[in-house]
Point group: C2
Chain length 469, copies 2
Amino acid sequence: MTTTTIDHATELAALVGADHVLVGDAINDDYTRDEALTSPAHRPAAVVRPGSTEEVAAVVTWAAANGVPVTARGSGTGLSGACIPQPDGILVSFERMDQILEIDLRNHVAVVQPGVTLAQLDEATKAHGLIYPVQPGENSASLGGNVATNAGGMRAVRYGVTRSQVLGLTCVLGTGEVLTTGGKFVKATSGYDLTQLVIGSEGTLALATEAILRLHPRPTHGATVLAPFTTLDEVAAAIPHIVGSGLQPSILEYIDLVSMAGITSSAGLELGIPQEIKDTALAYLVIVLEGTVASRIEEDTAALGQLLGELGALDLYVLPPSAGAALVDAREKAFWTAKALGANDIIDLVVPRAEIPGYLAAVKVIADDTASLVVGCGHAGDGNVHLSVFQGDPAVRSDVVGRILRAGADLGGAVSGEHGIGTAKKAYLAAIEDPAKLDLMRRIKVAFDPTGILNPGVIFDATSPAEHP
Amino acid sequence: MTTTTIDHATELAALVGADHVLVGDAINDDYTRDEALTSPAHRPAAVVRPGSTEEVAAVVTWAAANGVPVTARGSGTGLSGACIPQPDGILVSFERMDQILEIDLRNHVAVVQPGVTLAQLDEATKAHGLIYPVQPGENSASLGGNVATNAGGMRAVRYGVTRSQVLGLTCVLGTGEVLTTGGKFVKATSGYDLTQLVIGSEGTLALATEAILRLHPRPTHGATVLAPFTTLDEVAAAIPHIVGSGLQPSILEYIDLVSMAGITSSAGLELGIPQEIKDTALAYLVIVLEGTVASRIEEDTAALGQLLGELGALDLYVLPPSAGAALVDAREKAFWTAKALGANDIIDLVVPRAEIPGYLAAVKVIADDTASLVVGCGHAGDGNVHLSVFQGDPAVRSDVVGRILRAGADLGGAVSGEHGIGTAKKAYLAAIEDPAKLDLMRRIKVAFDPTGILNPGVIFDATSPAEHP
């Protein structure tokens, strides 16, 4: 440790208390990484654990004055490396700011600190018959991390993503200034929407220290329907019809054959599908209908069954509640299943939902062309495709990922639907995105963070390639 | 006309064609104003009517090079003066860019030019059983104007506002650069959300030349319920219960006694309310339930009736379809009714919905205190209160409006819920909003519009008061 670092630690201890500044070996490995498969871990110069918005502001003000990079961390469950600190930077961990400050039943909002986990919020809202509907598949994820990455998940097809639920923020700019944006209301037109700008900015514009979240009535009844199809094409073609039906599914997932086998076997799931169907089905749809009136769920399930039959489903399985929940749970763990099976990279991109068939066909060509295995599942209703890439050669893998992301962009899509860019997908974004748009984002970053200390090098590099020597 | 202006007109004619540049007396009075009651009209140096994104980009590039202010105009139905041009500036009118480019039934989106009106889009979507659900109360409004002001309206309680429906934009920055943002997908996390930033920026960041809009299944059945209450307090107290019921009304409006009398008499509406109820009721709720299954609407109407009884409604009128539509239509025209009755200003602000009772009590104190008449109605489910201020003395009126807007902010609200700031509410925003937040917005504007030509002086002045000499 250099003298400078020791001085820094002393100065930071004056801001948040000596117990809440970690340096050297006291920094646990967990602080050096997230769940991205391709982003190298970095040990920061110091981990700082502030206890309040004021302490966060003091830390950022100090960092701006000293030119020290600042990376925010919630639970570290991100998939793009956005919370991996810089070696010469500090990691601001929100583990002490983990309070649900308010469940406001009259305005149907929760006010939370960034370290609150989805599991914690779900427990608190359940008691009031309410739900925070963003479920990105990892309940230990923090709300602060969800805000930073605009987390999505399976229920986005009905409720939208984090962006749709956050009504206001307290946040600390790169200048150390504290701003509050939005409020306990669902709309406003009073200047630029700073809330929406900070959401999904992956810690590069501001650190959110408090969030006002929209809550919804919690469904009390539901049905999980599993529909095997002969081809992935038929699955993909069915999706617009289901979205357009007005049945408003809470979940509408496609799962390909390989992913279904992986998910069910790793979870030990037996869904009662006869062997002859398993032999024929190359892809599945999983559809969950939810509501508060049991008879309507029954009626809607029947209507859905008829629609699926017309759309070519081989059969239809209305799963008992426990099996339905187990399947959804296993699907949420698809990332872990793929990782355990040895996936070398995992990507998440979005295309117009009607383009899914053409997109998956393009992916197959790229996979075959490079002798890679690319399999997946996805939030079909949102056009959000999740792919696991099995390709051991890093150079080939990088080429495969670049090509399958570009194929999505060519069909009118975007590089990430919900995982974010971080450092893991930055080079791909730089190659695919309009340089003028990235330059505009750089200028916006300067407006929030004039000294460039907030998560530098995440989403994009500070200078455009043209400015490099 | 100065020589400079003549030169400018010639140069502009080279960009869009001589037929599409108007100067001097050829500029119709309509181009000089919008519907704001307190914003003075200005005649621009020229009106330019581009026919394509490329022409808009050429005009903005020219304006940036010549330091000429640019104001965009759709149908001119705005209520905050945001489309009133500068005397030395040019008005870009989107009347020629009025094409619905695509109704994409597989992705459930419409792609429109900015001059398309809501009426035009409604006609086109109706044919496919779809709906664009933002209905700010003026069907001649353009989609470009709706994007600029983040238009809301009565159905926002169910569907959200313009912000919730716009999936992507083509827009021209103040540099003349053309960017496309978003796409035909409902979510992405691939850098900052530029779509959301441009929406509601009132023409100060970019000119939208194309928009991708989300479409929804069109409801086929509906019921309109009118519920009189003894006091406005009871109405306000009922709102959170109705929102929390899960009945998901499409419309949830409160109308005070004076506004109801104005609305019904100006529309010649006879709703069949007995005189003794009219004598007792000081406020009304109007609730519309919509769906695609008739029996569910009937069941939900019954459930709503029971809930309203428990919440203290004096009676309940389920209006026949024609009367229901007439009431909703008359409510949409409340602005015109207030204007015809001589209202001196009309404001729209938002508070947390549960604060409406306290807020309206505070407004009454201010009105009484200044011998002003302040009456209104509002999108109660959204906490969006619309008030007509009758006060002939401009200085007193300005004080009244300032105080009632500040009272909303003190309860956690915002200066405008859907009309926007424009020039009409700019001084109030400057007085009420955090100066650091306005400074951040100024820096963001510079990122989009470095020479400051896009609608200068709208939302905020270019320099903060501290920078003034």
